[in-house]
């Protein structure tokens, strides 16, 4: 494998006296899906916020396309090609799919020296991109509120890809979805990866991770617990690592192996 598109080296993040990240290292290659697993409070959110420019790391280095990075705010990260798709806060239900798709990136056309929103272009691109992702819209003016949770995630992913994301960070995209919708989102992740985009997939569901992941990194208590390649690790081992091994084994015993 060549050089990773983004490399996070020994990232530490302190909030006052709280150490949220105590040295996390992850690298992601173009065209791979790197799953970031961890239980609640493991530091997943803080870590991706550091990656997407929301937080500045207290210590450590971020190297993006061979250059050390220093983002002032999330817009810098988006401009550089690091896009984040949030679980809930991505789409506006009352607005049409096409207005949502181009929110913050509105296409313009000049008329009489004034810039207007180019609705024709926006509608055409939205319909094409949605069709590619396997979503059949009634029309580009259909409100996002009528889409299912999985479809909304797909629209958000398609939007990030369309606007030139090189690294796509997906924050628990499947955690609130049903079985069928989850399958659709995972299929979308697979499509995106095949286009050569680096995907960082955050989840605490081992099965969803195993379905699309090429590599798996487990975070625990603000540290990297370890990274494994696909086929080198079983779901049970991943689950154990996430929960901190020992304790879960004890729990599992008392629950009769149902977790």
């Amino acid at each position: 494998m060549g050089d990773p598109i983004i490399r996070m080296k020994d990232i530490e993040k302190h909030f006052g006296s709280v150490i949220a990240l105590a040295g996390v290292s992850v690298d992601v290659h173009a065209g791979e899906c790197h799953c970031l697993l961890g239980d609640n409070g493991a530091g997943k959110s803080t870590f991706i916020k550091t990656m997407s420019g929301v937080h500045k790391p207290t210590k450590g280095e971020i190297i993006f396309e061979g250059q050390p990075l220093d983002f002032a705010d999330p817009r810098d990260a988006i401009a550089a090609g690091i896009a984040t798709v949030h679980q809930h806060l991505a789409m506006i239900p009352l607005m049409s799919v096409s207005r949502n798709f181009f929110m913050g990136n509105e296409p313009m056309k000049k008329r009489f020296g004034i810039s207007f929103f180019d609705h024709d272009y926006a509608n055409e691109v939205t319909m094409r991109e949605m069709k590619q992702m396997g979503i059949n819209l009634r029309g580009p003016d259909q409100a996002v509120g009528t889409l299912s949770g999985g479809e909304r995630q797909t629209v958000a992913i398609a939007r990030a890809v369309h606007f030139g994301a090189k690294v796509l960070i997906l924050d628990e995209p499947t955690s609130a979805l049903g079985v069928r919708q989850t399958a659709n989102v995972l299929a979308t992740v697979d499509k995106v990866r095949k286009q050569g985009i680096a995907v960082v997939f955050i989840t605490h569901n081992v099965r969803h991770a195993m379905a699309v992941g090429d590599r798996f990194t487990v975070l625990n208590r603000g540290k990297t617990f370890g990274t494994a390649n696909k086929g080198e690790i079983t779901p049970e081992e991943l689950q154990d690592m996430m929960a901190g091994g020992q304790e879960l084994a004890t729990l599992e015993g008392s629950l009769g192996g149902t977790v």
């Binding site: 817009r75 949030h86 806060l89 506006i92 009352l94 929110m103 207007f116 929103f117 059949n136």
Partner: protein, 370 residues
């Protein structure tokens, strides 16, 4: 489109009726048709539909329209402004203080008033986005603060609550004409000469048409509606207005400058209130401390009748304009029809209730909530 994409069996075709229901203007259109039908049937002979009658309710509707455009865009951006009415009184009083008491040239008084009032709008907005408090509370505070000053200032400088003499002070002023003047006068004179519209038959103005032009107030109303509609539906900024009101966090995540959008909309609302205030003082020739009372609620009601959601993110300027038209026609129509005018308030309350219930239902259709 239909021939290229295969049909998903779970997407039901929606009927044209349901599709029409999703348009925010629907309530306004239905209401306008109903109101006009009613008055054409029952008050046609009352003089409501001759030239003076039409000019009468058009002027009243235009007053509502001017403030409704501002309130509409602000509501779609997710905020309210309850200080609109006080702002109207305050702006009018500023014109009087600068133009009459201090005897500045009228154009300067008007420009300074616009600067002060839009700055106050910006302050409203800045406090709302900075503190995260509901705009309801912040602008309620400004409702009292501005009204208080509007009463205090004339009492302190002139020992009265009404300052007159504005018409004389504005005589021949180019900027004052933009608010108090009339256009298309030759057309109306010609119509009068041709005997198409009524002319004065006695007195010093014998032979002149009773309605001798379109007041700038109506021109402002139409211009603001067109501006607001294009801004909202056809520009990038319009998309940001919808986004800021629909879900501020999601909008921020997509790079929409939500705070800037909201503050600008507060400023625009204050601008609209000032336009109405200047038109009013030019028409009456005086500024009164009680001008604009309850206007904020009338603006909000017109906007809601026009199909906007109180929660933001959805609505239409055309709808709000129709809401204002309904207002003006009913208020004046009841007068022409000889109905007790206090019943107008009963009508307002009833129609507001209907509009809100209809809007809630429409919201469920759009978002697919149950």
């Amino acid at each position: 489109m239909a021939e290229t994409s295969q049909v998903d069996e779970r997407i039901k075709d929606i009927s044209p009726l349901r599709r029409a229901l999703i348009r925010p203007e629907l309530g306004g259109i239905v209401g306008t048709v109903a109101v006009f039908t009613l008055f054409l049937l029952f008050a046609f002979d009352s003089g409501m539909f001759n030239t003076q009658g039409v000019m009468n309710w058009s002027t009243v509707s235009a007053q509502f329209m001017i403030i409704a455009v501002g309130a509409c865009l602000l509501m779609i951006a997710g905020e309210f402004d309850l200080s609109v009415g006080s702002m109207i009184g305050f702006a009018g009083m500023m014109i009087a203080v600068f133009g009459v008491v201090l005897a500045w040239p009228m154009w300067m008084a008007i420009i300074i008033t616009f600067v002060i009032c839009t700055a106050l709008g910006a302050l409203n907005g800045w406090i709302v986005v900075r503190t995260g408090l509901p705009s309801f509370i912040v602008t309620l505070a400004f409702l009292f603060i501005l009204r208080g000053f509007t009463i205090y200032i004339p009492q302190t400088v002139e020992n009265k609550t009404i300052i007159g003499g504005i018409r004389d002070a504005a005589e021949g002023d180019w900027l004052a004409w933009l608010f108090g003047g009339k256009i298309a006068q030759p057309v109306f004179h010609w119509l009068g000469d041709m005997g198409i519209i009524a002319v004065f038959e006695r007195g010093s103005r014998t032979g002149e048409p009773v309605v001798d032009g379109i007041p700038m107030l109506i021109v402002w109303a139409i211009a603001l509606v067109i501006f607001g509609h294009i801004l909202l539906t056809r520009t990038r900024f319009g998309n940001w207005i919808f986004a800021a009101g629909g879900d501020a966090d999601a909008a921020r995540n997509s790079g929409v400058p939500v705070n800037r959008v909201k503050i600008l909309m507060f400023m625009f609302t204050a601008f609209c209130a000032t336009v109405l205030a200047v038109c009013q003082v030019m028409e009456f020739g005086s500024a009164g401390a009680d001008r604009g009372l309850l206007k904020e609620f009338e603006a909000i009601i017109a906007v809601v009748i026009g199909g906007a959601l109180l929660t933001g993110g959805y609505g239409s300027v055309i709808g709000a304009a129709l809401g204002a038209l309904i207002f003006g026609v009913v208020q004046q129509g009841l007068f022409f029809a000889g109905v007790e005018s206090s019943l107008f308030r009963v009508f307002l309350g009833v129609i507001l209730l209907f509009a809100v219930i209809l809007n809630t239902y429409i919201r469920r259709i759009i978002t697919g909530e149950r």
